[in-house]
Amino acid sequence: MCYFKDFRRYVIILLVLVVVFSLYGIVFSTSLEPEAQKMLDAFHENSAVSEFYDQVKAAYDGTTINAIGWTGPQSEGLRNFLPVFTELTGIEVNYETFQFDLVVEKVKMDAVAKAGNYDLEEIPYQDLGWFVENGYLLPFKDFMENDKLRSPILNEDDIIWASWNASSWYDGVCYGHPSVTCTMYLWYRKDLFEDPTEKTNFYVKYGYELAPPKTWKQFREIGEFFTREQGETLAGKVLQRKVYGTAIQGGRNDALTCEWLQYTWSFGGGIFEGGITKKENLIVNSPENVAALDFYKSLLEFSPPGTLEYSYEGPTTAFQQELVVGLCVEWNDQAFGLEDPKNSAVVGKMGYGPVPMEVDLTTQGLSGVSHYGGWTQSISNNSKNPEAAYLFSQWIISPIVQTILAQKKAIAPVRNSTYSVPEVANFPPLAATGPAMADTHYRPRIPEWAEMEEEMRVALSRCLIGELSSQEALDWLYSRYMEILK
């Protein structure tokens, strides 16, 4: 019986703690922060916009929508300004974010169960086919043409067409707005490339000027050049530990397939010949692809030991800490981290440029090879508040929000005009995005792609760890794809 008294005591203590924490949490409710207030004022400056939102508020005040997206600077940046949207429209937004794999899972689960738990969903563009062909998304046409829902500053022509087309248009129908313009390009240590000692040494060793590489052979040589042991010098300073010339995103995750596809395309390879997504056109084990994989694997020699665990942020952290001091191919939004003084030792030292090519694709009329990787904001066809969801997406891509988020270095904006804003144009990672978007390659957006991508991860990973040769891995992948595709 005395046992029970002990138990009761603990329960009471626990309850008290809970109550205390609850009060603490309630006390921290916020009123509109100064930055959010500034954004709100920007909206009210334009009378037409102000009027528009007044009538929206009258119609939709009190609605609540559920939005889901992926966790990144753009979602965290957006989260800070959600109260502005609520002020303008009276619509409450429950904004959930998860990391990449998890968010895709949740959204697909919701779709499959026809649950309608999310109104606005952020979907990676390569899954668009999966959603559209299963009938899970609402076309945007009616929303965009509806006067009551159409913002005066919507200005569709300003949206980067390459981005919008790849993210949200399928079979000629628009299913959403692009949420970010992510693309891959070259990262390199501009300061080291311009260092006189390094330049001289490089010329002596390789016979040409140290500069952002135009071919993969040059890329590899630069990677080799910057891989140094502890005690050697780098730009005049003695190294306290070993440094590496490059890094690959070699972990078994989405980053791996994206990065490898970037290499493959610039080697002239690909998955489907001519982009026609039919079984007969499968070229996933072509000689170009094998060459690309061999080359990709060979970079392990100049990559840090943890490179086979890296996801998207692996190279970012490596550059931040100057573990890698050469170059690599990475995403534009990852570069934000490099320019963050709190975490990065290389602020202002990085340069961004075009991805090297193995094959001169300019003969095919392409100015370069970049890998596009954006997302679309789309509306579930089971949503109970589709108009409110549309208003939210429209608000996110409004020039005001895009500009402010880009200025805060939270987003790679989806509007052409935003790239001309001074802070954006002067921010190297974003400045380099424009040119990279000129000619981009896309992953197949067919429904089978999710499964194909998963198999690709396994194949690439097994090759990188040495279990399979490049040819074996790609041959295996080819046979799997033949099974997966109709």
Partner: protein, 280 residues
């Protein structure tokens, strides 16, 4: 001379024994100590090579996680779900366990078998139909959905453990109640249940801990506002770098209530398991 050798041997044995225990405690506690340490580190200190043991501590990780990140809401969710699912599991499971312990019947055998099966089924296989099913009933993202899933998860334990505890109560006590004119229900409530109280407490704590730690059902069936702590942890490992600071802070927060419970549980659990073992 024999005693001398004997003492030496004993001493050796004792040294070995205590050093093994020392090592054991170290192996168990070191990872947690490292976790705790890390939760107070700023990012720069975390990635430092060689790893730092002394550094200026900060509470920022906890602040970001709980105030900005809303993880304290997750904690509340975990608590609500753990308590409710335990209560429901007990209410539904204890009567059945009692009935099984008192008398062997065909129905009881079938129920026991199926109950054990609920434990065997891999959560991942069953969660998709469960999700579909709960959505139709409108239970998605509500606490009740996750609570019910956790009841499913725990019910086997409740039945097995309580059956064991009830079997320790001498049959005569049950029968004496009946002889005195009690209804079976009364006999159960007034006699058997109070006697099995320690076992009940142990089972309850066990269920709370299992529910608190559960991941698969919580992840699939929860929404932003009803997420539990274990679900929140993988969300901190993002494409833009794992927010290790917050992740370790949240992990510590997930651990502490459980550790407190561990100190309560060990007394009751050992008692329960010990007396149970007597019977077989």
């Amino acid at each position: 001379m024999n005693t001398y050798r004997h003492n030496r041997l004993n001493l050796l044995k004792r040294i070995m024994k205590y050093s093994i225990i020392g090592m054991l405690v170290l192996i168990i506690l070191l990872p947690y100590a490292w976790l705790l340490l890390d939760s107070f580190k700023e990012r720069i200190d975390r990635f430092a090579i060689p790893p730092k043991i002394f550094f200026p501590p900060t509470l920022n990780n906890y602040l970001y996680a709980f105030v900005d990140g809303g993880f304290f809401q997750n904690m509340i969710n975990s608590l609500i779900i753990a308590l409710c699912s335990t209560a429901i599991s007990l209410v539904f499971g204890v009567p059945a366990a009692y009935a099984m312990s008192v008398k062997k019947s065909r129905l009881g055998t079938i129920i026991l078998f199926i109950t054990i099966m609920t434990r065997i089924v891999p959560e991942l296989a069953i969660v998709v139909p469960l999700y579909n099913y709960f959505n139709i009933l409108g239970l998605f993202g509500k606490h009740l959905g996750i609570i019910l899933a956790h009841v499913l998860y725990n019910i086997a334990f409740v039945v097995l453990l309580m059956k064991n505890f009830f079997e320790q109560i001498p049959k005569e006590i049950n029968d004496s109640g009946l002889i005195d004119g009690c209804t079976p229900l009364n006999s159960f409530l007034r006699l058997s249940l109070p006697l099995a109280a320690p076992g009940l407490a142990a089972t309850a704590i066990f269920c709370i801990v299992m529910s608190w730690d559960e991941f698969v059902y919580s992840f699939i069936l929860s929404s932003e506002s009803t997420k539990t702590l274990p679900v929140a942890i993988p969300t901190l490992i993002t494409l833009f770098g794992a927010k290790w600071g917050q992740a370790t802070a949240v992990s510590v927060a997930t651990m502490i209530p459980v550790i407190i419970l561990a100190f309560i549980i060990q007394r009751a659990l050992i008692k329960g398991l010990t007396s149970g073992a007597v019977k077989g």
